[in-house]
């Protein structure tokens, strides 16, 4: 039963990081305040989508073949990856990385349509892992055989939610203790690293679907160093795109991703 707590928190951490970091960036200057409704609008739509996906998974999961599910996962991962990169670069372009420059460039017009990027990113981030969490909680609740068990599920999820809120708050408070520049660079790196992990998991789906060739599968076996099925390996997989048996295509794509990011960062500086 205690896994309810752990799973809800674990599944929400990725979305929490993305939404939390975007929120702290948007709060950096009054010029970004118009973006906040888009961010929260994205979160709410993501939650609604999660419930819809969970209902689909619960009821017509047999109708939805594994190929469609794989396509769905691939689409979600790739679009989340693209929108993270897009939003990070866009925020850099508008001077979010240098707080003191923010006020000076305040007259620089902000493209309203770009706020929709924030909306979509928040929506995908929440819906991606949210659907699984809602599915998990739904079936825990429907399967519980006593009211006592139902109460336990509710309690554990409430605890997990509280922990998530504390994590979110810590993230917001973090920028008060360290310089804005360091805060921005760190959070930027966290987001870009998350995007690289999303790219690798999207590629995994594509390899499974036979859409791309893995070239050499696997190129090496690093399970003796860090097994991606262990707890630590899972964290590395979710945040850096680590694999103990990577396909060559994934390694190449991962390297290419960081080269492109470095070049783009230089361009947008």
């Amino acid at each position: 039963m205690e896994q309810v707590f752990f799973i809800v928190w674990r599944e929400s951490i990725e979305a929490l990081l993305i939404v939390g970091i975007l929120h702290s960036w948007l709060c950096a200057s009054s010029k970004y305040y118009p973006g906040l409704p888009y961010l929260w609008g994205g979160v709410v739509s993501g939650l609604i989508l999660s419930v819809c996906f969970a209902v689909i998974l619960l009821n017509i999961s047999s109708l939805l073949g594994h190929i469609e599910q794989e396509w769905f996962q691939a689409t979600m991962s790739f679009s989340a990856c693209i929108f993270i990169v897009r939003t990070v670069l866009w925020m850099k372009k508008y001077g979010c990385n240098l707080k003191n420059r923010v006020e000076k460039s305040a007259n620089k017009s902000l493209d309203r349509s770009s706020w929709w990027g924030v909306f979509i990113l928040a929506m995908i981030a929440v819906a991606r892992e949210g659907s699984e969490t809602v599915f998990f909680l739904f079936s825990m609740l429907t399967a519980s055989r006593s009211s006592n068990q139902t109460i336990m599920v509710v309690w554990y999820s409430a605890f997990a939610l509280m922990l998530s809120i504390i994590t979110f708050w810590l993230l917001q408070a973090g920028k008060r203790f360290i310089s804005w520049k360091i805060f921005f660079c760190t959070t930027e790196l966290v987001l870009l690293s998350l995007a690289s992990a999303l790219l690798v998991s999207g590629l995994d789906c594509f390899i499974s679907l036979n859409l791309i060739t893995p070239i050499v599968d696997p190129i090496w076996d690093a399970s003796w160093l860090l097994d991606d099925s262990s707890s630590l390996g899972r964290i590395a997989a979710n945040f850096f795109g680590y694999r103990s048996y990577p396909a060559l295509i994934s390694v190449l794509a991962w390297i290419a991703y960081w080269i492109v990011i470095l070049l783009l960062r230089r361009y947008f500086r």
Partner: protein, 116 residues
């Protein structure tokens, strides 16, 4: 004489085609049963190289998630439901899998090259 050759050729062609079709359809099938309490059976599965179908049966009262990172598969199952995944492997080896909703148990899918 030439007629015989044609007949033999046609028979050979049909038999190889049907063999190929049969082997494509007869996907090696295995099943994995999830028991109440966060366990599954069997924890060690021996499969041939290539494609195989793994039937997932959730006999527990809780949702489960079959996941194998090295085999690039994940699947969530509601309590008391059945589903399957088709897994493709290109080389022999041992690949771990687990129930992501209950981390108490881990299993191994051992891919063996049966032609050797």
């Amino acid at each position: 004489m030439s007629n015989y050759r044609y007949i033999i050729l046609i028979v050979l062609w049909i038999s190889t085609a049907s063999l190929a079709l049969a082997s494509a359809k007869d996907l090696a099938e295995f099943s994995l049963i999830f028991k109440p309490g966060g366990y599954f059976e069997p924890t060690y599965l021996e499969v041939p190289v290539g494609r195989f179908k793994l039937e997932l049966i959730n006999e527990s009262y809780e949702p489960i998630e079959f996941e194998s990172i090295p085999l690039r598969k994940e699947k969530v199952l509601a309590p008391g439901t059945k589903s399957f995944v088709v897994i493709k492997t290109s080389r022999p080896g041992e690949f771990s899998f687990f129930d992501d909703f209950h981390r108490s148990a881990r299993g191994i899918i051992s891919v063996k090259d049966l032609n050797q």
